[in-house]
């Protein structure tokens, strides 16, 4: 299991488009992927879960990856957060 801390950088937070991007990417991996925020935990492969997390810019999230391809999943998903989902 891998745990990573990320901060939301893009200005609009995890709104529709980044949420869709995140779900599309995470669904490609076998590993389970969870996002924790303020004591909540949601399935990172669920668009409804990611949207209802309502993570705004500046929010700190803990990402949990668990499974055969967890290292690769962690690397690619953290990268998506780091580059602010390609938004300014």
């Amino acid at each position: 299991m891998i745990e990573r801390e990320v901060t939301i950088k893009n200005k609009a937070g995890l709104h529709t488009r980044p949420a869709a991007q995140l779900v599309k990417l995470s669904s490609r991996f076998q590993s389970d992927f969870f996002i924790q925020k303020d004591g909540f935990e949601i399935n990172g492969k669920s668009i409804i879960g990611v949207m209802t997390l309502a993570a705004e810019r500046g929010a700190r999230l803990t990402l949990v990856f668990d499974g055969a391809d967890e290292a690769e999943a962690a690397r690619e998903i953290c990268h998506l957060f780091d580059e602010g989902f390609g938004e300014a």
Binding site: H15, I47, A54
Partner: protein, 607 residues
């Protein structure tokens, strides 16, 4: 209004005579063209659910039904996407992709399956409960960006419930119809288009609503804001949809049908005649030249805009860039949009209006306002969002390297606002300069004149900007204190009110005295009845829906400027709207009988 036509003697008794009486429903002209055909009243069927307990034996069957419903809903959405991708740009089809993801959500599927097994309740009841739960969570965020998504959840939930209850999709209508609906969602609009729809009319919606935009881009006539159209009209009724005048004529009499067949023929005839004007300059017989340009918002309109003989885009609306996400687009996205419109119009100019949000437009406010039209909108929103404003200004500046972009600020009501907006503009320039990013340093800056205070301060503003663009829609609203969206007072919304005409004159005269030019981008610019008057008042640029350009050009090319000036003087002496309209209509009829038969038809101006 038009005096009632004599009613034909009843053939099938009193009942029929009452039902078939001709009626005119008034709405807003959202997309041009005229069609005659049967109505199809589309009622967005709300699916209701009731809670039901399942026996142990029923559980598997329920799970199977749910699986089939999911498949069916998926097939429907996939079809819509395919169609949307073929007909619309990628932005518009993104709405539907999002909905497919919601439908196939892993957590949703798991929760439904688990609850059906454990709680042994019917699937539709549980679907309803799950979606209500998600909606409540999104609404709790108090962030409009997230709470707006509940509309998508509703759409998906309804689609899934319909699929489960095997309700027939109403959108699959046969044959050619004029669709009458309360309101049309993007999915509805796209679906109907697969069925060769003749045109649309909706109870609700403004000319900037989704359905209106789609209808225009697909060249289907549309009338919006027709109030009780769905209650008045029944499926199968014959209607005439007049997208030119914004009218629906229900149960047209044989005379009216004949009249309109004539109008349709004349439209074709005039279109053919006007096509020949495309390449000709917009100049009066005595040599006075004015510019005709188009109001536009999508780059794919450019071809059509140019084909109409436009001299540029007089109003490029930017709000559509934020319509899909309900958020501000990034600087880069905006840059791409602005530079593509500028390049495709080059060397003709494009006047970009900065985001005009709030009021009745697109962005859902975080807080409900009692008077949205007098509230947080236009430049006020952007000055409160300096980061987003700066991003837009940088995007416009970066796109201006082609040298044919001008910028204008909406809803300016005082000099302080203009100064603040210009300070952001200058700062944006400085930022780009520091980054070595090129832009057109000589870009013209203008403001929209829509607020009475701006009219009265025209001399002050004329010193501070390069041009004015009169936004008559809002100017009428604010000058006459008539809320455009209030049904109770639509008759008071009068664009040819004498005070409106005096305001326009004042703005033009003042600007000219300071050597500045004036455009007009409200609906009056494309209304043939106002053309001679506006020409005579000295308007320099008329901006309008592209489809009206040839007509307006035809009028101007046949009107001596000296005559128009005298006519404007005469109009300025009118004391009431009725008097003004009578004068405009009679002059129009006298000078342009062939056009008058088309535009004054059906009593629109028979006051």
């Amino acid at each position: 209004m038009r005096p009632d036509l004599p009613v034909e003697p009843a053939k099938g008794g009193v009942e029929d005579a009452r039902v078939l009486e001709e009626r005119v429903l008034v709405g807003l002209p959202a997309a041009g063209g005229v069609v005659i055909g049967p109505a199809y009243v589309y009622e967005r069927e709300e699916v209701y659910v009731t809670e039901r307990a399942l026996s142990l034996e029923e559980v598997d069957a329920e799970l199977q039904l749910l699986g089939e419903a999911l498949e069916r809903a998926n097939r429907e959405l996939t079809k819509i996407i395919e169609f949307a991708q073929a007909k619309l740009d990628s932005d518009a089809s993104a709405i539907f992709e999002m909905q497919i993801m919601l439908l196939n959500d892993v957590e949703l599927g798991k929760a439904l399956e688990r609850r059906i097994r454990e709680e042994r309740k019917n699937a539709d009841f549980l679907i309803h409960q799950e979606f209500e739960r998600y909606k409540a969570m999104l609404l709790r965020t108090n962030n409009p960006l997230f709470s707006e998504r509940t509309a998508d959840l509703d759409d998906v939930a309804q689609r899934l419930l319909r699929a489960l209850q095997k309700k027939r999709l109403h959108a699959n209508i046969e044959g050619k119809h004029v669709v009458i609906a309360d309101v049309l969602t993007p999915a509805d609009t796209v679906l109907f288009l697969r069925n060769d729809v003749l045109g649309y009319a909706t109870n609700l919606g403004g000319i900037t609503s989704h359905a209106a935009i789609l209808a225009r881009s697909l060249k289907v006539p549309a009338v919006v804001g027709a109030h009780d159209a769905t209650e008045t009209i029944r499926t199968g009724d014959t209607v005439i949809l007049d997208g030119q005048l914004g009218r629906i004529i229900l149960h047209p009499s044989p005379e009216t049908i004949a009249e309109y067949r004539g109008k349709i023929d004349r439209i074709h005839e005039i279109e053919t005649r006007l096509e020949k004007l495309v390449g000709l300059p917009c100049v009066t017989p005595d040599g006075h030249k004015v510019e005709l340009s188009a109001n536009a918002e999508f780059v794919n309109e450019v071809e059509y805009v140019l084909a109409q003989g436009s001299k540029g885009i007089g109003l490029y609306r930017t709000e559509h860039l934020s319509i899909l996400e309900g958020e501000f687009p990034s600087e880069q996205e905006q840059y791409v949009a602005y530079s593509s419109i500028a390049q495709s119009m080059y060397p003709q100019s494009v006047i970009i209006r900065t985001f005009d949000l709030g009021g009745d437009k697109f962005m859902v406010q975080a807080r409900k306002e009692d008077n949205p039209s007098l509230g947080w909108r236009g430049i006020r929103v952007m000055l409160d969002k300096p980061e987003e404003f700066r991003a837009q200004l940088r995007a416009i500046l970066r796109a201006s390297v082609t040298g044919n972009i001008k910028i204008m600020f909406p809803m300016i009501s005082g000099l302080a606002e203009l100064r603040e907006a210009r300070a952001h503009f200058d700062a944006a320039k400085a930022e780009l300069q520091a980054q070595g990013c090129p832009f057109d340093d000589a870009m013209e800056v203008g403001i929209m004149i829509e607020v009475p205070s701006a009219v009265l301060l025209a001399d002050v503003f004329a010193r501070a900007v390069d041009f004015f663009s009169i936004g008559t829609n809002d100017l009428v609203q604010y000058l006459l204190a008539v809320d455009r969206n209030n049904d109770l007072i639509t008759n008071l919304y009068q664009e040819f009110h004498p005070s409106v005409i005096r305001a326009i004159k004042h703005v033009i005269d003042t600007a000219h005295a300071h050597g500045k030019w004036v455009g007009l981008c409200g609906e009056m610019g494309g209304n043939p009845l106002g053309t001679i008057l506006l020409l005579g008042l000295g308007l320099d640029e008329f901006s309008m829906v592209p489809s009206m350009i040839p007509t307006i050009k035809g009028i101007i090319r046949e009107t001596r400027y000296e005559d128009a000036k005298n006519f404007a003087e005469e109009v300025l002496r009118c004391h009431t709207t009725a008097e003004t309209k009578r004068l405009l209509a009679s002059a129009f009829r006298e000078r342009f009988p062939h056009l008058a038969s088309m535009y004054i038809l059906n009593g629109a101006m028979n006051t």
